[in-house]
Point group: C2
Chain length 205, copies 2
């Protein structure tokens, strides 16, 4: 079974145990003959896929009644993967979603690592630093690099920690954020876990 999670920049595949990414700009989906179960937040890619019979969009098999209309399908599938906890998905945006006993309680959207880096740089060249992920969170900064790192990371950390729930980190920057969220569990394949669960429930294969 081949699974694919399609984002704004890449196709993320899981084929058995093999996990790999393909660039949205260069990958040609019609070149695949095998059956691919996918979800996608990319409207351009969706247009290409709708004419291909072996690409099966599984987004309609999830009960969306507890989510909201404009919520990204990737966030929904991550939430479906867990029973209780806070899902922190660190990609181009960092989405933070709360699930309690299988119920979606709501969530928020924070800028991702690269987006935030660009933001500080644009505000002033004096803030053009990479983030210090080894920042001491209990000490108020007294230098520019730590001042922006704290602004980006500590505010998010304080908020997410305040829920007092298990934290599940996923997404491309999960390992970076784990340096700050030290007690969090990293689950790189959380969306695929959600996809497998829905495929099984819907008896698709």
């Amino acid at each position: 079974m081949i699974l694919c999670d399609i984002g704004n920049t890449s196709y993320h595949f899981l084929d058995g145990d093999a996990e790999y990414k393909r660039d949205v700009k260069s990958f040609i989906p019609s070149a695949y003959q095998d059956k691919v179960y996918y979800i996608s937040v990319n409207s351009e890619v969706n247009k290409k896929l709708h004419g291909l019979k072996n690409w099966i969009d599984i987004s309609s098999y999830v009960d969306k009644s507890q989510y909201y209309e404009s919520m990204g399908i990737d966030r929904i599938f991550s939430c479906e993967a867990i029973e209780s906890g806070v899902v922190v998905d660190a990609g181009s945006a960092i989405t933070v979603d709360i699930v309690k006993n299988g119920n979606f309680m709501g969530g928020f959207i924070y800028p991702g690592v690269n987006a935030m880096r660009e933001t500080y740089k644009k505000i002033s060249p004096a803030l053009d630093y990479s983030f210090n992920f080894d920042l001491e969170l209990d000490i108020m900064p007294k230098n520019s690099q730590d001042a922006i790192s704290y602004g980006f990371l500590k505010t998010l950390f304080t908020e997410v920690s305040s829920y007092d729930m298990p934290i599940i980190l996923t997404g491309g920057d999960a390992s970076l954020l784990q340096k700050v969220f030290k007690t969090a569990i990293v689950e790189n394949e959380l969306i695929f876990k959600g996809m497998k669960k829905i495929i099984k429930k819907a008896k698709l294969c």
Copy 2:
């Protein structure tokens, strides 16, 4: 006595009780004949002012030993204005600085309202919303506008509130942020207050 706080985009004057701003691009400082006491974070403007005898840079009269080298002079003067509290200065960046019994304890830098709005927009056109400053902070969002508003505002609020100190709001977006920081005191002339204090201490006039 004319005071002037020069930022990246404007000259901010206080002349007696009259407060006004002039655009950095169009204002010609040599047109002023009166004595002007100023601080500036704008290196381009600094070059222009150094040759003008009636423009007096008062930044050197503050004891900088407790601050850090790359810290903006505007932040330093805001801190000088208070004895104890958290200064939240909401401009192109939102700087958050802690002062305890006249001592600077450190601070952090968060993106300003406009910068953050642009950031979300750039991440995805689906996040191109203005912020909802009337957001209910105790409810996890279930729509896109609230999801980014919460991401921007609630994380900052939770962090700043955790210090359990009086909050002083200043800067161009102070009144917007007061909708979230309901118990904060708005002090639009905090930097000028700091400037007056230093001028008096240094017996400059």
